[in-house]
């Protein structure tokens, strides 16, 4: 029995020791899901912080020092709405890198240009709307490149979000409720290459 145990231990230990003796550590990649989940965590944290620490605190519900408005650029004290701030971030990232892209989309967009454009975007947005709390992951080929595409639910967390979307004259849906999925964050990462 002891002999068997020693042989087994030796068989298990040998590859581990040999691996440890190599000069170069084995390259370990990050799973696309983990990568996009991490990106989304940063995006969500920043968006939540902007909403709570800036808009709520300094806007009409707080000090009333800034005016969060859709056409904020026309106001001296105008501030972008949280969704616009999010898009501004996506555009700023697009100017810095093409290693990943992200966008805020919806099946019921105020601006029709933010409706899904690819089959996978549509599939993902429909999935997260039908499966609250779940994310969607897939691969799609656009042009010559294959992308890992992740779609994360964008949930109505504050009354102003719901009110604005329900009352906006360009909104195709007017019955959003707190806690419902209003849209999704689509993160796309090119695979290979």
């Amino acid at each position: 029995m002891l002999k068997k145990s020693i042989i087994c231990a030796a068989l298990v230990a040998t590859p581990l020791i040999l691996t440890g003796c190599q000069d170069e550590p084995k390259a370990v990649g990050i799973k696309p899901e983990l990568y996009t989940d991490s990106l989304f965590a940063v995006m969500k944290a920043d968006r939540t912080n902007y909403t709570k620490l800036i808009i709520k605190r300094l806007g009409p519900a707080g000090a009333n020092a800034i005016a969060p408005k859709e056409h904020w650029q026309d106001l001296e004290n105008g501030a972008p709405l949280p969704a616009q701030m999010f898009r501004a971030g996506a555009e700023a990232v697009a100017e810095m890198t093409d290693d990943f892209t992200y966008s805020l989309q919806s099946l019921w967009p105020i601006n029709s240009q933010n409706a899904p454009r690819t089959e996978m975007e549509k599939q993902g947005l429909e999935y997260i709307a039908a499966n609250p709390g779940k994310n969607f992951y897939g691969e799609e080929k656009l042009g010559d490149t294959t992308y890992f595409t992740a779609v994360y639910p964008d949930v109505a967390v504050a009354t102003p979000c719901v009110t604005c979307h329900n009352e906006h004259k360009d909104s195709p849906r007017t019955d959003f409720k707190i806690g419902e999925v209003m849209g999704g964050v689509v993160i796309r990462v090119p695979l290979g290459g």
């Binding site: 650029q73 996506a90 555009e91 029709s112 454009r117 690819t118 656009l142 360009d170 796309r188």
Partner: protein, 438 residues
């Protein structure tokens, strides 16, 4: 020497001579007319002989040209809240659209040297290019059903880049108002607050020996009042210069200089091509216009700077197109004459500069400074650019849009009322009412 050899030698000599001439022009001369492959648009013809202003590197394609475009136009586009910036198109979800129109490069839409296929605003795409992305617009906007896609930007309704005066909520917010406002006045000058001033100087303190009328003019000018002596302008390099040029002015008037160099009057200087002159321009100019070349002193006599002269007379001394010629008999000129005669308060008159080099308020650290925008491109084309920065100081939005869409009215310098009506405000109001009623 055989005849054949002689011919070869002559041919080689001619080739070497031609190569030498072209090489010299390419490598050593700022102007390269032999390499101009076709005329450029109204926006670039002043600098078309300076190839490397746009073709910044011999090895590079559209990307390089795009960077060159942005080198001059980036801030203008940012200020215009560009509706279609490159960053909106780089997401791979737009790859199918980019295959039709690569909107990530300026030159995809604004090709140069293609005069035969260049439309308004220097656009070299078919005029209905909006269709590629907005073909379903009538679904959201039934009022647009049946409208031609070649009319989006030509009917006074939309622009590709600058929609600051055209977006729906702005139309709604400014849907009413009189043709001429009760308090129709442009911004008051704030003075040269951002320029360092010294103790005022008198005639006796002039530090150069010059003709009496020059020194006397200076002693009464704002320059003497601000403590700017002769050598402060004429000896900025340590050596006396009779014609100190733009660089000397910029030591105090930096903002004005950068506007001048970015505009049509100074872009040749910026490109290292020497001064712009009426003879080099495409617009009609007076036969006796000064051809010595434009710099600050062309419009502002440095020894007797008079902003009233610079606002009209300086322009009129050169420009000779219909719009300029008809200014003298226009309602705008009439107001200016009344202001000059003290019959109306300051800011009531409308000069050439009021519209084409307007006063603009700049706020920083709680201080407002009113500066003159010397880059006339900021308020020129498409002319809806002028609506908010100029026209609406005195007129309603509706009147401004109608007037700017009427080419006849523009040519006669707004002597009359608009002959047509732009329905965009009506459409926005109707849609808003309909949505509120639903």
């Amino acid at each position: 020497m055989s005849r054949k050899l002689s011919i070869w030698l002559i041919w080689l000599t001619l080739c070497a001579g031609l190569a030498g001439l072209l090489g010299y022009e390419m490598l050593a001369k700022p102007e390269k007319p032999s390499f101009l492959i076709g005329p450029t648009t109204h926006g670039h013809y002043q600098i078309e002989l300076s190839c490397d202003t746009c073709h910044t590197d011999p090895f590079g394609g559209k990307e390089l040209l795009h960077d060159a475009c942005m080198g001059c136009h980036e801030q203008e586009l940012k200020d215009a809240h560009d509706s279609h910036p490159r960053k909106k198109f780089t997401d791979p979800r737009n790859v199918d659209r980019l295959e039709k129109i690569n909107a990530t490069n300026c030159v995809s839409c604004h090709g140069e040297h293609k005069q035969h296929q260049t439309f308004a605003m220097g656009v070299t795409l078919p005029e209905d290019f909006c269709y590629e992305c907005h073909q379903e617009v009538a679904k959201d906007r039934p009022s647009h059903e049946g409208m031609g896609f070649d009319t989006c930007a030509s009917a006074g309704c939309h622009n590709f880049h600058d929609n600051r005066a055209l977006y729906e909520d702005f139309l709604l917010a400014n849907q009413s108002g009189p043709m001429v406002k009760a308090m129709a006045q442009v911004l008051a000058r704030s003075g040269t607050q951002d320029i360092k001033r010294k103790e005022p100087l008198s005639l006796a303190q002039a530090d150069a020996d010059a003709a009496h009328e020059i020194v006397e003019g200076w002693s009464l000018s704002g320059h003497a009042e601000a403590g700017v002596n002769c050598t402060d302008c004429h000896s900025t390099t340590g050596v006396w210069q009779d014609d100190p040029g733009v660089a000397s002015c910029s030591s105090c008037h930096e903002n004005e200089e950068s506007g001048f160099l970015a505009g049509k009057h100074g872009m040749r200087l910026k490109a290292g091509l020497g001064k712009m002159s009426p003879a080099l321009a495409r617009l009609p100019f007076k036969a006796d216009a000064d051809q010595s070349g434009l710099d600050c002193a062309s419009c502002h006599d440095a020894h007797q700077p008079d902003l009233k002269v610079a606002a009209v007379e300086s322009c009129q001394s050169c420009h000779d197109d219909d719009h300029s010629r008809n200014y003298a008999d226009s309602p705008h000129a009439s107001l200016w004459q009344k202001e000059l005669a003290d019959e109306l308060p300051a800011g009531s008159g409308v000069t050439c500069a009021t519209c084409h080099m307007p006063r603009e308020a700049h706020k920083a650290f709680g201080k407002v400074t009113v500066r003159v925008e010397h880059n006339q491109n900021m308020n020129l084309r498409p002319n809806e650019k002028m609506v908010r920065s100029v026209c609406m100081d005195c007129h309603s939005l509706a009147f401004s849009l109608d007037a700017l869409a009427d080419q006849t009215l523009i040519m006669n310098n707004f002597n009359g009322k608009p002959g047509s009506h732009i329905p965009s405000i009506d459409m926005a109001v109707a849609r808003d009412r309909e949505k509120k009623d639903r």
